[in-house]
Symmetry: C2
Subunit: 419 residues, 2 copies
């Protein structure tokens, strides 16, 4: 192996063993050249290799640092209050490793088999029990975003004219559907009068996150849900129920998929509540749309990765999933209280309660927001001027080792803002 | 745990341990009831559970059998000559298990991180080296079908009017694009005169599998490729190069992505050459389309499963991939010779050579094809009457334990046909 590759592998091994941690400065080119008794050019080549493969980053005039995969890939910020996923550092990877190992031991070659288009039958049965949902119209999907994408395809042309969104709503849905129609959200669900004004037109889909809404963290009241169901009986629209994070609501109201399954396209992300890289979820679709969805899933990617499906099945069946939800739920409560404390202590900021989930939706009054906001801004979730001064503060993507420093950083920003 | 669940778990464990193998008859309800000292109703409940979860199947009047996941899920045939994937029984799962175990050991929590939209940077670098392709415009995708789906989205409305297919071609492309325009295939590539008649119209995309074509197994000559490239310089169409199985061609001609990258959308399945359940591939797109493809990938499923990307990266880097290709290549050659022997011995059947890959494209002359064909019929790949009597015989999804019996079965069918 060429020397520069050996040097790169050496440094990579040190990063893997934790000798250099994300954010650590690694030795200079000069020092490494001395250590290996080679030219600086060779070391530079090794560093270029590490950089191009995402192991280190160069900060001009300062040296080379071990990359934070999370921070750099997704937001570019030191403290990431933008990413709403759980930090992967919470995930019980030893349990996960054991599950993978058992899958290989037990199933031998079968571990890699292609699942049916609709998904691994045993995963479907397991999810049906865990989420208390019917399994006959369930499809395993490659994450909630694919659920939206399949819906866009099934309803196809002109969909942006026919789909109604909450205001504010999830940006991934806005961009996928080129959203045009919005209904304002109140703290227990949509403004029903505004909804009634919109429904008689060409609305065929209503996209909603009724339990732990993204970005506001609110949940619909049962009363509002029932009012919407009555309208879905009268008007020709389907409800897209994106069940974002109901696992973190202590007493969620019955879902649309429970109240009116005939008109509900239910989408559940599993990446949100396990680990983001898993890219898995499921959906339950009305009987009259099932064949269309199945065909559309097939033409999209044949089926979702079989091994991941088997892993999630075992993760649920062994009880590790329920345990993980309980553990992260505790952490969410603790952290939300801390973040809320800072918000309440800052002048001109407020967060309307109750909110659930991994973020806090905060609005600024009289106070200007800083130029480069380290969180997700209101503009990402809404075209309305009223949300320009709001932002979503996601506090669960930070791992425990940096959370205290992140809070301090937040405190400093809030202090500067109120000046 | 309820007794019926215990019984089901017991049988499941026996299947996992190989006490009962796929296709084996399991003991009757009566015998199991005697063994556990319980009612037949309880055993029946256990059997229902195993059946609903895909472990066993009931054959009326005969008893219950351990299911072949492949056979039943995908084709319903005893000997599957339809599925063109490699049998998962060939896959070196012990090596795979070790790779997974190492991934967890080395990367700890990072093993589950979300990759960037375009894919794991180290996988991209690895694929660039292995396939000798540029990495700057590479996207990791969830299988080749997703590559087609992204292309359909990027070129969006009216695409079926604008896309040209080979005749015959891959059914997944026909259905996704609602194919209308076809150019006949000769044994070294498309009929250029027919191509020239079609190009001046609204053709914007030409979908081709120039190396180891599906279903015919032919490969384009360099001359035909160059003729097509000349036309792509003159006419406003992109070439979708679906590189189906060039790994199994001993001397593939330069690819379109080598000859004319500016107008080539290159798609490479990795599920075809590793194991079908992996659902991974990559594509290389022209520079002017890269941002659109990236955005479309994001709105489709955010990113392909990170863990699978890391696995494939290691599978290639450790040399296991190259070794596996060499091994399966040998097996393909052996089996093709055997199947070809049967075809040649049968009266009225012929397979035009050379062909490569996991299937043999066979045409019947003067001979009627049987009612229920155990292979993929010409109709699946073409609307043309001339292919009605052709079929694709895929011989690599059968595992070694049943291949000889499958050959015998094939021989019998051919014998009956010629009577």
């Amino acid at each position: 192996m060429a020397l520069y590759k050996q040097i790169a592998d050496n440094i990579k091994a040190d990063i893997n063993r934790g000798v250099f941690k994300p954010g650590d400065k690694i030795p200079s080119i000069r020092d490494v050249a001395t250590e290996f008794g080679c030219s600086k050019l060779t070391v530079q080549k090794a560093f270029e290799r590490l950089k191009s493969r995402g192991w280190i980053e160069k900060i001009v005039g300062s040296g080379s640092y071990v990359r934070f995969p999370e921070r750099i890939n997704r937001t570019g910020d030191i403290f990431d209050f933008k990413t709403a996923y759980l930090s992967e550092s919470f995930f019980p990877y030893l349990q996960a490793q054991e599950i993978f190992s058992n899958l290989f031991d037990e199933q031998k070659a079968g571990v890699f088999s292609t699942p049916p288009v609709e998904g691994d039958p045993e995963l479907i049965a397991t999810l049906g029990e865990f989420y208390r949902v019917p399994t006959r119209r369930m499809l395993i999907i490659s994450g909630a975003q694919q659920g939206l994408d399949l819906t866009a395809k099934v309803f196809s042309t002109g969909i942006s004219e026919n789909i109604l969104f909450e205001d504010p709503t999830y940006p991934g849905a806005i961009s996928l559907f080129k959203a045009k129609h919005f209904v304002p959200l109140e703290d227990d669900g949509p403004d029903i009068a505004a909804l009634d004004a919109l429904l008689p037109s060409q609305i065929r889909l209503f996209y909603t996150m009724p339990t732990v809404h993204n970005p506001t963290g609110i949940s619909y009241s049962l009363d509002k849900k029932e009012q919407i169901v009555r309208r879905a009986r009268q008007h020709p629209f389907y409800i897209i129920e994106d069940d974002y994070l109901s696992e973190y609501h202590e007493s969620p109201a019955p879902r649309f998929v429970d109240l009116f399954p005939e008109k509900t396209i239910y989408i559940k992300s599993l990446s949100q509540t396990t680990v983001s890289g898993i890219r898995l979820g499921f959906m339950i679709v009305p009987a009259d749309l099932y064949d269309k969805f199945l065909y559309t899933k097939y033409t999209s990617d044949i089926a979702s990765a079989g091994l991941i499906q088997k892993f999630v099945r075992e993760f649920i069946q062994t009880g590790a999933f329920a345990e993980y939800i309980a553990k992260t739920d505790q952490k969410i409560r603790r952290r939300r209280a801390q973040v809320l404390g800072l918000v309440n202590a800052a002048s001109g900021l407020s967060a309307q309660l109750p909110q659930h989930g991994c973020s806090l939706w905060v609005c600024a009054h009289k106070t200007g927001l800083p130029e480069n906001q380290p969180w997700s801004t209101g503009r990402e979730f809404s075209f309305s001027p009223q949300y320009r001064n709001c932002f979503r503060l996601s506090f669960m993507n930070l791992d425990d080792t940096i959370f205290d420093r992140a809070l301090e950083y937040l405190h400093n920003i809030f202090s500067r803002m109120s000046k």
